[in-house]
Assembly symmetry: C2
DNA sequence: TTCTTTGCAAACCTTTTGCAACGGA
DNA sequence: TCCGTTGCAAAAGGTTTGCAAAGAA
């Protein structure tokens, strides 16, 4: 296993590729492009780490050239997920759905410190293989999974025994 | 790997053991026992499969000798989880937290058909071992995890190619 | 008696929806 | 022009909380 790749910064060329992918999906669904949607996508793609819809609205208001109403962002995000730009993540992390960039990132899962909130992203192909084995054994066609580990990180765990 | 143990029926003796465990936790926390809480615990322990707080309230109203207000059950369930009688489960299954019995059940994870909702519970020690390895590698003390696989079951998946 | 538990209603919060105005193709 | 998109406000749905009454130790 290994820690997932570094802070996944997507440069402007990458963002451009992502928007093209989005526009392809939009076209394929018979929808129309929109400036607001692209702005939301840009902010989401550039976001460092995990975020909620509220986070996007806030960031857009603070740094963007375009604003978007929360209801609008709630409508846009599922499309960005469908287009493969984002993915839902840390499903079990309390209130509010969380997302992170999926576009041009390797798949990874999360190890979360329940005390300080620290998150380690890891890739472990062996587990992915076993998951496929399980699905196969039960006759399932595997389409996705949620795999989150909880614990105490080295700073939060009591050292050298009970405390 | 294997499918998790059969429908985990807990007989009256088992329920009694569970209630004793609950009472121990209650005492340890300086709380008091209550008839309503025990009734909720009984219904939850006897529940076949996964359930929401609403399900408990409904079952209690229909079959129980004691009723409980939803707000009360919302207050009780976390204690039952803490006491090890229940565990949260299928975190990603849309609205509403879901629970299932944890008392005297082996640990298992879920394989869920996103089309018909069928759920297969499986145990796979190899994955548990790998999870512990991951936690160790990153210096975490592992306390729990969420592991859910999504896919299409054999009835729902298109047979022999695309359709 | 003292402190916890319960029911009830109201508050909360995130997310969804109806609708009229706006905008892209 | 013809729809899809957006903003706004209201609704929805699950969960929490304040408070007074009821119950356990």
């Amino acid at each position: 296993m290994r820690r997932a790749a570094q802070p996944p910064v997507l440069d402007s060329v990458g963002i451009h590729r992502a928007l093209e992918q989005l526009h392809g999906v939009v076209r394929a669904k018979g929808l129309k492009n929109s400036e607001v949607r692209d702005a939301v996508a840009r902010v989401a793609l550039a976001y460092d780490g995990h975020f909620t819809v509220e986070d996007l609205v806030k960031t857009l208001r603070e740094t963007g050239t375009v604003e978007a109403h929360p209801a609008t962002v709630y409508r846009i995000v599922p499309l960005l997920v469908e287009a493969g730009l984002l993915q839902e993540t840390m499903v079990s992390a309390g209130e509010g759905h969380r997302y992170e960039r999926a576009f041009e990132r390797d798949h990874h899962d999360h190890l979360i410190c329940t005390s300080c909130g620290k998150v380690v992203e890891f890739e472990f192909e062996a587990i992915e293989v076993l998951q496929r084995n399980i699905a196969e054994q039960f006759g399932f066609f595997l389409t996705g999974h949620v795999h989150e580990l909880f614990g105490l990180c080295s700073r939060c765990a009591p050292k050298g025994g009970a405390r």
